[in-house]
């Protein structure tokens, strides 16, 4: 096909479950490209000499390279090409903010729409898995050195996968009973099926990574004790798992959740399947979700699926400032989430039994830009109003869980208690201790956590090669 014809092909839409139907089930929303759609979409890529998209990718996937293979129908080859730099394409194809990364820079986006890089990535990873073509690489003989990885989120999984292939003995210690970090406890099934995460974890196990779940480092063993037990290096990928509350009146009323609790109950503990599963969750009819990021969208859409009549998304800035993936904002709107933008909660109202019955909000307007460059919302005097609710989910960000930092002497942290680590290597202030992902950057993205893991794996390898 010549270039002109290629330019004429429109961006292939993603087949999806219908909004009304999916708003009441937990099945995945996008259904995935067919091989034909994928090949057609792949032809839209004009194979730039200096592909801008690759610069937008935090792990520099060879995007034109894998897309060529897709256009040729070599889907397995395409998956292998991505895996040269990105170990979790089935995850990233689903959750990366492509519109702010590769697809933002794609030249096709200047005149028309960018190539659907994320959808293609997802397609080839799913194709490979479904074909049973995920092969376990040859693992080199052990170098006789042991590495402990604390936390099994995307960052820890990446470090473990890289180091085992370099011949180290790797053990992951995970506090929860299931590995995967936010991928299992935070991001809902309808956006990232847990079977995909389980397959990735299984792949690591098959390569020989030991995974010790239900082990809270800082409690059952400190970092120093891990060294005493014979580990030669430790990687800290403990994430940003500390819930943030607004410290406004009524926040401890029954029915007010942190997003972490709400999503953990639903995702990790499968409360949406209660009573088949034993963990309950409040199935509110009128739910307010506070925040504008991915966590807020996930909470709001979960509330809808649990049977709410109204889900109000209360966000203090305007739509343009919402940090959530654009696709998820669209999905949420299609599913009937009611947005109360430029609105800030000031207190929760309770009844005599200690249950939340209302949330009082204040309308805002955008003022001067703040430190983040976004225009600061300022309250409009006298604009208070009350929304009747029976459940609220606070999704305004996360902080650093202090368990490891407080039990590791000499480990430097910043003023928010995140671990200070070199960006290129993950090296912390302690010899042999590396860190990366959300515990260093604060809540960020899956791909940045993976990128940090990849860099740290290289640095740990170098450290252990030179260490006597």
């Amino acid at each position: 096909m010549d270039m002109k014809d290629r330019m004429k092909i429109p961006r292939q839409p993603m087949p999806e479950q219908e909004a009304k139907v999916r708003a009441r089930n937990f099945d995945e929303v996008p259904l995935g490209y067919t091989p034909e759609m994928a090949k057609t979409e792949a032809l839209r890529c004009i194979q730039c000499k200096n592909p801008a998209c690759v610069q937008g990718c935090p792990v520099q996937v060879d995007i034109p390279g894998f897309i060529t293979l897709v256009s040729e129908g070599d889907f397995i080859g395409a998956a292998k090409k991505i895996k040269e730099t990105n170990a979790l394409p089935a995850v990233c194809g689903r959750v990366c903010p492509q519109e702010a990364q590769c697809e933002q820079l794609c030249v096709r986006g200047k005149k028309a729409e960018p190539v659907a890089i994320g959808r293609l990535e997802r397609f080839v990873a799913d194709f490979e898995r479904a074909a049973g073509e995920v092969s376990i690489p040859q693992i080199p003989a052990s170098r006789g050195k042991k590495v402990a990885v604390v936390g099994s989120g995307p960052s820890g999984l990446t470090v473990a996968g890289d180091l085992i292939q370099l011949g180290y003995e790797v053990t992951i210690f995970e506090a929860l009973h299931k590995p995967g970090g936010v991928l299992v406890y935070g991001i809902p099934e309808f956006r990232l099926p847990k079977a995909i995460v389980a397959a990735e974890v299984d792949y690591l196990s098959k390569m020989g990574v030991k995974i010790e779940t239900s082990n809270v480092i800082g409690k059952i063993a400190t970092v120093d004790e891990l060294f005493e037990e014979g580990y030669d290096a430790v990687y800290l990928g403990t994430g940003a798992g500390l819930p943030t509350f607004m410290n406004i009146p009524g926040e401890n009323l029954n029915g007010v959740y942190s997003a972490n609790e709400y999503l953990t109950r639903s995702n990790l503990m499968k409360a949406y399947k209660f009573p088949e599963y034993d963990t309950p969750i409040v199935k509110g009819k009128n739910v307010a979700v506070i925040g504008g990021g991915n966590v807020a969208m996930d909470s709001a859409r979960t509330a809808m699926r649990l049977g709410a009549d109204h889900v109000y998304l209360v966000y203090r800035r305007s739509r343009a400032e919402m940090p959530a993936r654009i696709e998820e904002i669209h999905h949420a709107e299609e599913e009937g989430i009611e947005f109360h933008l430029l609105t800030n909660p000031i207190r929760y109202i309770g009844n005599d039994k200690g249950w939340v019955v209302g949330i009082e909000c204040l309308r805002m307007e955008l003022g001067e830009p703040d430190d983040s460059g976004r225009r600061r919302p300022v309250p409009i005097k006298g604009s208070e109003y009350v929304i009747d609710i029976d459940t609220a989910v606070v999704a305004i960000g996360a902080g650093a869980n202090p368990l490891v930092q407080s039990t590791t002497p000499g480990l430097d942290t910043n003023k928010w208690n995140y671990i200070i680590a070199d960006e290129a290597t993950g090296q912390t202030s302690r010899e042999g201790v590396f860190a990366g992902g959300d515990i260093v950057t604060g809540a960020a993205t899956v791909i940045l956590a993976m990128g940090a893991g990849r860099n740290a794996a290289t640095a740990i390898h170098q450290y252990l090669m030179t260490k006597k």
Partner: protein, 283 residues
């Protein structure tokens, strides 16, 4: 991490004791800490205080009351069977030091968690007054164990079927505080109304009182905030900041409300479990 059940014993109508094979936790745990268990794939994460541990044998002991489906199912397991997950030790350890005279108070199933603390306070050289109580005689357990680590010892029952007739808080006040016994510190563990009653009493006499809170938990690592309580007007997480707090600062009313969040669901779940257990229905 799974854990084998080594022994099981029924202490009273609804209270069971289990000894678990958990060498690492046995070595690490300190008085006041707890574990979280999960019994099967669909199960909840259930926090339970470590009632005792033997570092040499590599065992930890849990004591629990059957209050719902999860504890019911736990009580159905027998020696030789395994818990799917066991994680610990969690929470802050009790700060143990010699302060002089201490009163250790356990109400109902709270006798179990107060035991290791009593033992540790005794070992630290304190003069230990123990008061354990329950609704009625049959619900009293660990009497001998508690006696063995106490200098003075009182049992109370609400109905007067055994020992002092009345609540533990009344025994503390009538027998000690009112007559003027100087008590330097009180540790009280049990149902919330009991802990509140003890705190109301000790406040009058200005005696420092610690309580161990049993709030609803999910992860028990400080990640979710399900366990939050107000202490001195500040929100604290029981699983990592506690479980022990200054009882005079705790908002018991809020704690009681929060413990009721899932009552309807728990009841449904438990009724279903009971009817299954008694052959009236199936999953």
């Amino acid at each position: 991490m799974s854990a084998k059940i080594l022994a099981k014993e029924q202490l009273s109508e609804n209270v069971f004791k289990m000894v678990l094979d958990a060498p690492k936790i046995a070595q690490k745990r300190k008085a006041g800490q707890f574990v979280v268990i999960r019994i099967h794939e669909e199960g909840e994460r259930v926090p339970l205080t470590i009632a005792d541990a033997d570092a040499a044998k590599g065992t930890v002991t849990i004591i629990f009351q059957v209050v719902g489906k999860s504890t019911g199912q736990l009580s159905d397991l027998n020696a030789g069977e395994e818990l799917l997950d066991l994680v610990g030790p969690l929470g802050k350890a009790t700060h143990i030091e010699k302060v002089g005279t201490v009163a250790c108070i356990g109400g109902g199933v709270g006798i179990a968690p107060v035991y290791p603390i009593t033992q540790a306070l005794k070992n630290a050289g304190n003069h230990v007054i123990s008061i354990i109580g329950a609704r009625t005689k049959d619900l009293i357990f660990m009497e001998d164990e508690m006696k063995a680590v106490s200098d003075e010892f009182i049992v109370t029952t609400d109905d007067g079927t055994y020992g002092f007739h009345g609540f533990v808080s009344q025994a503390l006040e009538n027998k000690y505080l009112m007559p003027g016994t100087k008590i330097d510190m009180v540790v009280a563990i049990g149902p919330v109304p009991m802990m509140r009653a003890v705190c109301d009493t000790t406040k009058k006499y200005d005696v420092k009182t610690f309580v161990s809170l049993n709030s609803i938990m999910v992860d028990a690592t400080g990640m979710c905030g399900a366990c939050r309580v107000s202490v001195g007007g500040k929100t604290r997480f029981v699983c990592v900041d506690g479980p022990e707090f200054d009882g005079h600062q705790v908002d018991f009313r809020e704690l009681m409300d929060r413990q009721k969040i899932y009552l309807p669901e728990e009841k449904d779940c438990y009724d279903h479990y009971c009817s299954c257990k008694h052959g009236k229905g199936g999953r």
